[in-house]
């Protein structure tokens, strides 16, 4: 069985959620079930510019053959004005405007598209739906095309050009039921073969250092939010909510925003922003946190929520983010907030009730063990791909 992954970026240097997910699935298919796997990708690392920074050609990474192709254009400066115009009413965009949006969003790599069309893989998996390689490559290989949308409720999902992208898939692999519900609300793909898979998590051994020490908090209790510190990810909102909370509830509690920093967080003695930390430190920081907060409304899966549960840490998520809320509702491992009042009430309750924190954390840990451990998850995925192979849609 041979599987090819098509993704605009690929490699351990890439921090994006969808690309990381593609790489993890590819590597586990090789290591756990012995599939032959290749990744067809560009030479880019930056998802804003799509500049070619890696050499084109073939290499091997953890058993996966990586085939890189140069791009003829990345994201064009004109993209932003067009995006601004179309996002007001994306479903009303013309097909020509939507196609232009895809071209200008990039990365455009005709050689990559040719390689996708010529692929001899039994199944070609496209990850995510949003970019040029998927839009122009899906449905073209001889083998079955499986789409991993990694979709969330963003304006682009409604652009008419993506109806054909979803329609050309022979099968769809969703992260969550919420993602399936969203995609089916926008595109008529309910009769496609599908699986709700998600992603696997590994236990990351910590370094047994106190989290507060790593953060320079000198023994203070803290809550943590892991992931890109970005306005779009809700980090600025969380920081402002926490500052308001602390004005109303003075005390030693602190907030740690851990991850690459892409937004300015106002200086505050109760908020620490250590930037990127190594995996062992991150595990220690999460382990000692009272609560892990995922403030983002735009997630299609959220590994950080599951990683908190691996360590039995309860989570608090954005109520308007269906996938993370689905995790909480299915597992009983976390609570959610939809405005400041609710945020304050949730935090008050969790901080005052250690038994509740423990119960939520244990529920979350059980949920991860049952649904998102790699060996079982990759076997389900392999069975799904085997079933899809050779069964192109008419």
């Amino acid at each position: 069985m041979k599987v090819a992954f098509v993704t605009p970026r690929y490699g351990p240097e890439v921090m994006g959620g969808a690309e990381t997910a593609a790489r993890q699935l590819a590597e586990h298919l090789v290591a756990d079930v012995g599939f032959e796997v290749e990744a067809l990708t560009t030479c880019a690392l930056d998802h804003i510019t799509w500049d070619d920074v890696l050499e084109p050609g073939d290499s091997t990474l953890h058993g996966v053959t990586v085939r890189r192709f140069a791009s003829t254009s990345g994201r064009r400066p004109e993209f932003y004005a067009l995006d601004g115009r179309l996002r007001v009413a994306p479903a009303e965009a013309t097909m020509a405007q939507a196609r232009q949006w895809v071209e200008w969003n990039g990365p455009v790599s005709p050689d990559l598209i040719d390689a996708v069309a010529a692929s001899d893989a039994d199944v070609v998996a496209f990850y995510p739906y949003l970019y040029h390689p998927t839009v122009h490559g899906i449905g073209r290989p001889k083998g079955a095309s499986v789409l991993h949308p990694a979709a969330h409720d963003e304006p682009a999902l409604y652009l008419p050009v993506f109806r054909a992208t979803y329609g050309a898939a022979d099968a769809i692999c969703y992260h969550t039921v919420a993602e399936r519900r969203l995609v089916q609300r926008v595109h008529p793909v309910a009769a496609h073969r599908q699986i709700v898979l998600g992603l696997g998590v590994d236990a990351v051994p910590g370094g047994n250092r106190p989290g507060a020490e790593i953060l320079g908090l000198a023994g203070r209790p803290y809550i943590v939010s892991v992931g890109r510190v970005d306005e779009h990810k809700g980090s600025v909102m969380l920081a402002e909510y926490f500052r308001t909370y602390k004005r109303r509830r003075p005390g030693p509690l602190a907030l740690a925003l851990v991850g690459p920093v892409a937004a300015r967080i106002p200086d505050d003695p109760d908020i620490v922003v250590p930037g990127v930390v190594d995996e062992a430190d991150k595990a220690d920081i999460v382990h000692d946190a009272l609560v892990s907060v995922s403030p983002s409304a735009l997630e299609s899966f959220s590994l950080v929520v599951l990683e908190a549960w691996v360590q039995s840490v309860p989570v608090v998520v954005n109520a308007t983010c269906p996938p993370t809320r689905e995790h909480c509702e299915r597992s009983g491992g976390g609570l959610w907030f939809g405005d400041y009042r609710q945020f304050e009430a949730v935090l008050d309750r969790l901080l005052a009730d250690e038994a509740l924190r423990r119960r939520l954390g244990e529920n979350g840990q059980r949920y991860v063990e049952e649904h998102y451990r790699w060996p079982a998850l990759i076997r389900r995925y392999a069975e799904f791909l085997t079933g899809v192979a050779g069964s192109r849609r008419p």
Binding site: H152, D153, E154, G167, V177, R180, R181, L182, Q184, H187, P188, V189, A190, A191, R193, Q194, I195, V196, E231, H232, K233, G234, V236, M237, E240, Y241, T244, R248, S296, A297, N318, T320, P322, C328, E329, R330, S331, G332, L335, W336, G338, D339, Y340, R341, Q342, E344, A345, D348, R349, L356, N363, R366, Y367, E370, H371, A376, R380, E383, S391, P394
Partner: protein, 336 residues
Amino acid sequence: MTHTDSEPDQRAFLAQVMAEITDEAKRRRSHDLPAGTERDLDELFLRYSPLSGRGGSVTAALRVVDSNAMVDPVVPVASQHAGGVAVKKGLRSLSLWYMSWITDQVNRFSSGVSRALHLLADQVDDLGRRVDAQRIVAGPVVRDPRAHRSDAWWVDEAVGELTAIPGRVLHAACGNGWLVQRLGAGGIDAYGVDPNSSADGAAEESGTDLRQEPLADHLGAVGADELAGVVLTGVVDGASLGERARLLELVTDRLAPGGTLVVHSLSPDGFDAPDAPVEVDLAPGRPMRPGAWEAFLPLAGYHAVQTRVGPDGRDYLVVARRPGIREVGDGSGRAE
């Protein structure tokens, strides 16, 4: 991998905790946080909420309108440059009469719009409550353990009708996937939907394509002519007339030309029997007699309608086909 049997318990526990928290948040809403601060915090939350999130709550959307309804003519004068504050103050003083004249009109207009939206929202709320009190309850899935099993009298015949048809076959309501697995074993590309929450868990355990979705929602997300076959069990038995008609419209549109419809239903006698499934007591409608299907399906565009009553008369099977393109080689190549 095992499905969590305790998931319903966890959901109930979580629902209780969140209800308590929501009550507490509502109780606090009446005091102590300045209204302007709360509006700013709400707006910050909504700025990066998903489209459906923003569109989902009229109250939240109105809060954003309210927070932006007032245009302030007194511009801020802070500056990082020496003398900047004085210059800005001067400009502000010179232009304030003009800006006030403009903003006063804008503010009157925007507060009028905001008030109209609030009135509209109140009326929509009131209408929703009135409609809700008179709504027709959706028919429950009638789960008949005697008939919904792979060794029931009608199953071989249904599978035979669906064998070798090109394309996907949908089974609703699929339960734990017993018929989907049976169809799959016969080489039929089948999947199932069921409004019951156990369907997704059963899919994870069995590796079959089962989804927890209301049937009408599911069919609404299927493209026209996409299905080769549809099997309905326990779905139409207790449906209301309107619900049954809507379902039939959707199924007919989604079935490909030449596609097969299979319906298994309790008979009216079986529906009224003392040992009928308990769901019949909650049903807004009653099953049709087999003859009614024979009369009405042709009017909906089906042909070759066959019905067969089960051995004890408590249930029956309906099989019908949508007209399709004639088989290659029959000499016509035209639609029937």
